[in-house]
């Protein structure tokens, strides 16, 4: 019987090997794991993921690492040794999917380019993730998440009207990039299930960002319009914004239909006011409308205000801070923060999947310690005897 328990889920039986760093590649692996795949992170002491070491003493108790790697396995393989690379190829020969987001050219230098891995596993699905993708004149460039968003055209659309763009919060981009890669990988798995044929997938972070603003890119194609950041405004609705409430809170309000505006106008005491009668009027006088709305909202307590607006049929929500997110009723109703257990610190809550499905994969395990699953990988998957595994330790392939 396997040391690894069955968890169910649509991708049960799929094995994913990750040669990834930081957030985007690991997020791809996490999504596949949450869908039921067995995801094995290949790690080495000589090339440790920065999320295991950033600001912490204990590499097995690193908060950032734990946040992005629940329900994965870890095998330690020294990739600077021939023996290690050889065992890694043996592991890849048993894998369905390889996900990598190392620096451009790093996989080839390790002798793990697509052709080499394909020779070991002819139907491998090889997912290569790069800032600009694996090919092209700028593919050599690297950067961090906010660079993806800046290059992809997304940052330019975030900011206050008529001012320099601010871009999204600095954390944005890696996880979206990771999701695009996961989708492509699953499409390839479906194709392989039908045909037995694997493939090479080359995913670009910058293009993933462009895909999040596709309608703005179409506006340029269609009308030559280069859209700019516009605060919280939207052409089809007014008001459409975020307004102050008591205690430093903020409320997002959108008059998403004519009846919604009529209801809101009633609450604001603006019913029948000619300045705001039609959408065109409200757009023409939007600064004044926003000012009046802000004056009305700023002394009100946000929860009651949202209830009042929703009761009147107006789209409204509190702009949630991190305390709100942890207490959010809809998220709790979806069991969004599952408890997972890891070998180091015991039980902890983590961020679960966005989906509910009829046959979900179980999510019970926290992120692995470095090499926690060496025995499973070397012994059970690769079939090495205890003596042979001890020999690997002696040769410095693993601990």
């Amino acid at each position: 019987m396997s040391a690894i328990k069955k968890r169910g889920g649509p991708l049960e039986g799929v094995r994913v090997v990750e040669l990834t760093k930081v957030w985007a590649g690991p997020y791809t692996g996490k999504l596949l794991s949450y869908l039921g795949a067995e995801v094995i992170r290949v790690e080495s002491l000589g090339s440790m993921d920065v999320t295991r070491t950033y600001g912490v003493e204990d590499i097995n108790n690193a908060p950032g690492w734990k946040a992005v790697n629940p329900q994965k396995l870890s095998v330690q393989i020294n990739m600077k040794s021939e023996e290690g690379l050889s065992r890694l190829k043996d592991l890849l020969a048993t894998a369905d999917v390889l996900v990598e987001n190392l620096r451009p050219g790093a996989m080839e230098r390790l002798g793990l380019g697509y052709e080499a891995v394909k020779a070991a596993k002819p139907d491998i699905i090889y997912v290569s993730m790069g800032m600009y993708g694996a090919e092209g004149p700028l593919a050599y460039q690297t950067g961090y998440a906010p660079c993806f968003a800046a290059l992809g055209g997304l940052s330019a659309l975030v900011g206050y009207e008529g001012e320099a763009p601010t871009g999204m919060n600095v954390r944005y981009a890696d996880s979206t990039f990771g999701t695009a890669a996961a989708y492509a990988a699953v499409v390839a798995l479906f194709h392989r299930g039908r045909t037995g044929v694997g493939q090479f997938i080359d995913v670009s972070a910058v293009e993933t960002m462009s895909s999040m603003i596709g309608d703005a890119l179409i506006n340029y194609s269609l009308n030559g319009v280069v859209e700019q950041c516009n605060g919280n405004r939207r052409a089809e609705m007014a008001p459409h914004g975020v307004y102050p409430c008591a205690g430093g809170d903020w409320v997002a309000i959108a008059a998403h239909s004519e009846p919604a505006w009529q209801a809101l106008a009633g609450l604001l005491g603006l019913a029948g006011d000619g300045r705001f009668a039609t959408l065109a009027d409200r757009k023409a006088n939007e600064a004044e409308l926003d000012k009046l709305l802000g004056e009305w909202s700023c002394s009100q307590e946000v929860t009651g205000l949202v209830e009042q607006l929703q009761a009147a049929g107006v789209a409204a929500a509190k702009s949630e801070n991190s305390l709100d997110l942890i207490a959010d009723g809809n998220l709790w109703a979806r069991e969004f923060y599952p408890n997972v257990t890891d070998a180091q610190a015991g039980s902890r809550m983590t961020v679960g999947p966005s989906w509910k499905m009829t046959r979900m994969a179980e999510i019970t395990d926290g992120a692995p310690a470095l090499g926690e699953h060496n025995a499973y990988v070397y012994g059970e998957i690769l079939g090495l005897s205890q003596d042979e595994q001890d020999e690997l330790v002696n040769k410095g392939v693993c601990r």
Binding site: P10, L11, A67, G133, G136, P137, P146, A150, S155, A156, A164, G167, R171, A181, Y183, V187, A188, L189, F190, H191, R194, G198, Q199, I201, S204, A205, E207, S210, M212, G214, D215, L217, I218, N223, N232, R234, G241, V242, Y243, P244, W250, A254, Q310, A315, E320, N321, S322, L325, D328, N330, R334, R348, T350, V351, P353, S354, W355, M357, T358, R359
Partner: protein, 393 residues
């Protein structure tokens, strides 16, 4: 043959989330039957950008973008006949993608339990703002309000001016596009399982939850008690002078977090005197708000006289991470986008030739492709319903 050829999807979508999910599937050859209301069709047909030229009703660039490769079938789902036809169509499809609320689904006889009982091999994917368990208090929702329910709004921008409101993100539909990605991922994963199990299933996507999962590096630490939770708008931020700065011809983004970046900046600027006031490792070991403010001031003054592409290239050569902040025009001219053929020309019967953004993944065996433009309203009603009546599989 692309990956999803032969998979038939019924799309019950009237918003960007469901339509973009359908598009992600149709890019790989799935056959999408888009059900539209006879009186005008999908509301996205009336959303901008609308072609400035002409007066045809079929001028929405948004609809044209979101609905390539799809078939349009008009069906009046307020009538018993319409619902009956819908149910006959369900006998012939593999997947339903819906972005309607639960009450709408119920009215069409599509409660998830009923669907599972009558069509056990069907994959039913529902995308809603807060999930199928959502409470009536949240029934009115838009991308703006969902985005602000996710933490991304409150924490955007980084390093905010606290007197000004938090922001909605880029454009109009980030919440929808993000949710569609997770929905398409789950649909195809369910189809993978169905290859052996022969069973369909219900997929319930919460747009709010999708956006929160995208914060997992931060929220995963917060919910585990490893990072402070607070009502601060800076709770997701990283310290440092990384930001967007204006240049003579636009904007650049600079990332600086390591001593090597500081050193590269010095080389690029010819080691000006003001930099001597900073220890070489201040970015790692002494990143105070005061120092950040001084550096931001100097960077702003310097960059105001530079050009975004040239100065970014010079910085990159020295190891300073600086990139241009591209806009829609820059992207179409970008050599990397051209090389990778990210943009594709699609001929639309009313809009003419239109350049579309495509997909961020290049696949060696099953490339995504656009083979037909978005359908005119009801373009495929007669052929689809005739095929249904003829019993064609």
């Amino acid at each position: 043959m692309s990956a999803l050829q032969g998979i038939r999807v019924l799309e019950l979508a009237e918003q960007v989330s469901g339509e973009y999910c359908g598009k992600l599937l149709s890019d790989f050859g799935a056959e999408i039957i888009k059900i539209e209301r006879p009186d005008g069709g999908s509301p996205t047909r009336y959303l901008g950008p609308v072609a400035e030229a002409g007066d045809d009703a079929e001028r929405s660039g948004l609809f044209a973008y979101l609905n390539t490769n799809k078939h349009s079938v008009t069906l009046d789902l307020t009538s018993a006949d319409g619902v009956q036809t819908l149910h006959k169509l369900l006998d012939k499809v593999d997947v339903v993608v819906a972005d309607q609320r639960l009450d709408w689904l119920q009215a069409a006889g599509l409660e998830p339990e009923a669907v599972a009982a009558r069509w056990p091999a069907l994959v039913l994917c529902c995308i809603t703002p807060f999930g199928l368990q959502e409470t009536p208090a949240e029934l009115a929702a838009t991308d703006l309000t969902v985005f602000h329910s996710s933490g991304w709004g409150f924490h955007t921008p980084s390093a905010p001016d606290l007197s000004r409101p938090p922001l909605k993100g880029a454009g109009r539909f980030m919440a929808s596009y993000e949710a569609a990605l997770d929905a398409a991922l789950c649909v195809v994963a369910a189809l993978c399982e169905r290859q052996t199990s022969q069973q369909g299933q219900l997929i319930d996507i919460s747009m709010q939850a999708v956006l929160v999962t995208r914060t997992d590096y931060v929220m995963g630490q917060m919910v585990a008690g490893d990072m402070p939770v607070s009502d601060e708008r800076t709770a997701f931020d990283l310290a440092g002078p990384a930001a967007i700065y204006a240049t003579a011809d636009g904007f650049v983004y600079i990332w600086m977090s390591a001593p090597a970046h500081w050193q590269a900046l010095g080389t690029l600027l010819g080691n000006p005197e003001w930099m001597n006031d900073f220890p070489g490792d201040w970015l790692e070991k002494g990143c105070t708000p005061e120092r950040v403010e001084v550096v931001r001031g100097h960077l702003a003054t310097w960059l105001a006289g530079e050009e975004k592409a040239a100065i970014s290239a010079a910085a990159q050569k020295l190891g300073l991470i600086m990139v241009p902040v591209n806009n829609a025009g820059d992207l179409q001219a970008c050599e990397q986008f051209i090389y990778r053929q990210y943009f594709a020309e699609v001929e639309h019967p009313r809009l003419g030739k239109l350049v579309h953004p495509t997909v961020p993944y290049r696949m060696s065996e099953t490339p995504a492709s656009i083979h037909s433009p978005a359908p005119l309203l009801g373009q495929h009603t007669a052929t689809t319903l005739a095929a249904l009546a003829g019993g064609e599989q």
